[in-house]
Every structure is written in C-alpha cells, then in structure tokens.
Subunit: 223 residues, 2 copies
DNA sequence: CTGAAGAACGAACGGTCGTGCTTTTTCTTT
DNA sequence: AAAGAAAAAGCACGACCGTTCGTTCTTCAG
C-alpha cells in the first residue's frame, strides 16, 4: 500500500461528494425512523432524493455501510438536538432533569416525525447479531452512561440521598422517557409526555436531599 | 349469494387445514419477533416449516392477512403465558405485582428468544398507518387497560393511597417492564430484570397504604 | 366406489432488492 | 482553456419478494 494524499482540503469547506453524503444521510435517518434500517432501501432513498441509485450506492459500497453511517449520522443529530441544548446547565440534578426534558422535546420535534430513530433501531436489531446491532447497542450504552454520570455528579454534590443507586435511577428515567416516545408514536397520545415528566420529577424529588430540592426549585423544576 | 353450510365440525376436533395454520402461525410469531412483521417473508416461513410457499400462501391470501393473523396468534400466546398464570391471584396490589412479574418471566422465557413480539411490533409499525398498526395499537391499549384496571381495583380496596392516579401508575410500571425487555434483548443484561423488579416494588410500596403493604408482605412481595 | 371439495404443490409472473460494470457529466487544478 | 480526478448516471445481473395459476394428493360424504 502506498501513502495516499488527504482527500479533503484544509479549510472548512467540504468537497462536493461530502455535501451530497450529508444530504443522503439526513434523509436516510428520516426514512429509517419510519421504515426501519432494514426497510430502508437504496433505490427508495435515491428516488426520494432525486438521484440515481448507482450514484448514491457509490458513496457507501454496501448496504451495511450505509446502515452503519446512518446510525452514526443519527447519533450526531441526537447529540445536537438533545445533548447540546443542556450542555451549559448547572451540573447535578438540574442538568439531569434538563437532559430528560430535552429528550422529551426531541421526541415531539416535527422534524423527527417518525419518532426517535434509536428507539426504533433498538427493537429492530435487538435480536439480530452483527455490526449494526453492535453500533446501536454502543449508542444505547453511551446514552445510559450519560444519565448515570449526571446522577453520579448529583450524588457527589450531595443532591441525592445517600444510598441512591445511580444506575437504578437512570434505568427508571430512561424507561419513562422511552415509553412516552412509544405512546406518542403509536397513539399520538400527548398525555404520555405529561406522565413522563411527572414520573421524572416525582422520582427525582423523592430521591433528592434538601439541597437537591433547592437546586431543582431554583431552576423552576419543582413538582 | 346462497347460504353456506358451516365448514367446521361440531366437536372440538379441527380439520387438517386448521392444524396446519396453527403451526404456521406459531412459527410466524417466532420469526417475526426476530425479523419483524415486515421482515417476515412467506418463502422463508414456508421453508422453515418444510412446506411449499404457495401452499402456505393459500391459507392467507395476502401478506397483510398473514400479518394480521400473526398479531392475533401472538396475542393469544401472550394471554396464555402472561395473564393466565396470575388469573387466580388475590385481586388488588397482589395481582398487579404478580402480573408484572409474570410479564418479566415471559420476557426471559427461552421459547421467546426473539424477545417480546409486541415490543418489536410496536416500534416497527408505530409510524406506519394501516390495519397492522391498528391491530397492534389495540393490543397495547388492552395491555395498558389491564394494568390500569388492577390498579383501580387496588385503589377501590383501599390498598393505594388516596389521590393515586391509576393511569400514571400503569404508565410507570409498563415503562420499567418494557425497558427490561429491551436491555435483555440488546445486551443480554440479566440485571435489567432486577432493576425492573426493584422499581415495581418500590413504586408500589411507596404508593400503598398500610393495608396494601400488608397484602404485599402477606404474598411474600415486600421490598 | 365415486366424485366433489379442500389442502398442498411446482412453476412462473412482474417487480424490487442489493450490487457490479461502463460511460458521461461536473468540478478542480494547472 | 485543457487535463485530470471525482461524482453521478446508465445499464444489467442474479436473487428474492408477494402473488397467481394449474395440477396433484388427501379426505370424506353420498
């Protein structure tokens, strides 16, 4: 193998193929959150974008690669829409509850009308070993770890009662959020978000110390 | 149109085609809980059963019909495996928690190695309007309504604190159970069941009156 | 024993899938 | 403006999809 020159130029500007790829992946995430990653077809994606099937295919080389890059793209979108908005919140319970509510907002975003990409992907691939499942499982681990992390920070700051298990807390918070997304998608049930919010706040309030409750109240997040 | 004679004989014995159909649907539920209801292919199902594609197809007439009957078959299996085992439990909180734990057992049943059929189906069809989605959504409503019902009975018997919202309680219980199934499928994480059980018991304990707690303790279900 | 009806079959249809090729268009660089 | 590279398109392939058709085997009533 000989050394290859870098194929991207040094400034921020992207070459044409890269821009196209971005557009493809954005649409791919959109379609896959409706029809699933397996139901996502190369021909369908191409015609949806008004390009040729073969031209699109050349960007990836295989459907598996397309799926993997779609997962990656979805995870970047998730980061943008869920994580970034609460990056500056006060660490601890306040940031934890802010993250949860950012997550709930992401669910109802009209731009994600097919529902949370990952909620669909988790269930689609949970019984199908392979690289796609691995990528998706890794993403789920990252998400859970983030919640646990925020809970741990809250505990370290004395905002949660001694003996609180951050992983148990994360489990329960993730559970109610996930179900809210499901019910919203399946039934268009707006109330599900209210129930999730109630559950999150009640749970945090029950597990919080006086200082933790003060922090929540200060951020306008009492129950 | 002329009147037709009934095509089934009067005693319990079934005609040949009916027995075959049962076998087909059992396998269909099994395959669909891995590959999804859309990924379920008629040819694949036939070869898995060692029968011809056209012979199998004749039983249904269309893939849509196969999907609908598969949903129906899955819901009968669910009833058998989840509801029936707790049918004789003491109504109220005891039956409620028994139902939840029966549900958790159903998740880990080696016979359902592809995970809960419905958990997969909910997410697969939640953004695809049509008869299949309607059938699946109806099933979810039935399930939720059952939990709400048990919670209501518990409330009526004075086992839950006044002001307890049965629907909110049902939401939270369903949430943790669903997530346990997801994590079990995605990561093979046994601990998820422990977390779900902890969450269920803690939640019920917190919402129960003294009489409710006594009932739970009497059934060996304290936390 | 005969004959009709139901159940299962094999072959084939049009269509779409993912995937390779070759050619043409479009951009970038000199 | 010309040359070279990158991107997109065109076309074709084998496999599989749901579906239809005509035929064979099984079952059971008359």
């Amino acid at each position: 193998m000989e050394a290859e020159v870098a194929e991207e130029n040094q400034d921020g500007r992207r070459v044409r193929g890269d821009r196209t790829k971005r557009a493809i992946l954005a649409k791919a995430v959109d379609l896959a959150s409706v029809d699933g990653l397996e139901g996502l077809s190369i021909g369908g994606l191409a015609s949806e974008l008004g390009v040729s099937k073969s031209g699109l295919f050349a960007h990836f080389g295989s459907k598996l690669e397309l799926q993997l890059e779609t997962v990656q793209a979805a995870s970047e979108l998730f980061e943008e829409q869920v994580w970034q908005p609460v990056a500056d919140a006060e660490p601890g319970v306040v940031q934890l509850v802010a993250l949860m509510e950012s997550w709930l907002r992401y669910f109802r975003d009209p731009g994600n009308s097919g529902g949370c990409f990952f909620s669909n992907a988790y269930h689609e691939f949970d019984a199908r070993p392979g690289p796609v499942r691995d990528a998706i499982a890794a993403q789920k681990r990252r998400w859970m770890a983030a919640i646990v992390h925020h809970a741990q920070v809250a505990a370290d700051r004395g905002q949660l009662k001694a003996g609180t298990d951050p992983e148990q807390l994360a489990f329960e918070l993730d559970a109610v959020g996930s179900l809210a997304n499901s019910l919203w998608q399946l039934e268009g049930d707006e109330k599900a978000f209210g129930r999730a919010q109630t559950a999150i706040r009640t749970r945090l309030h029950a597990g919080a110390t006086a200082s933790g409750r003060r922090a929540l109240a200060g951020a306008g997040l009492s129950c």
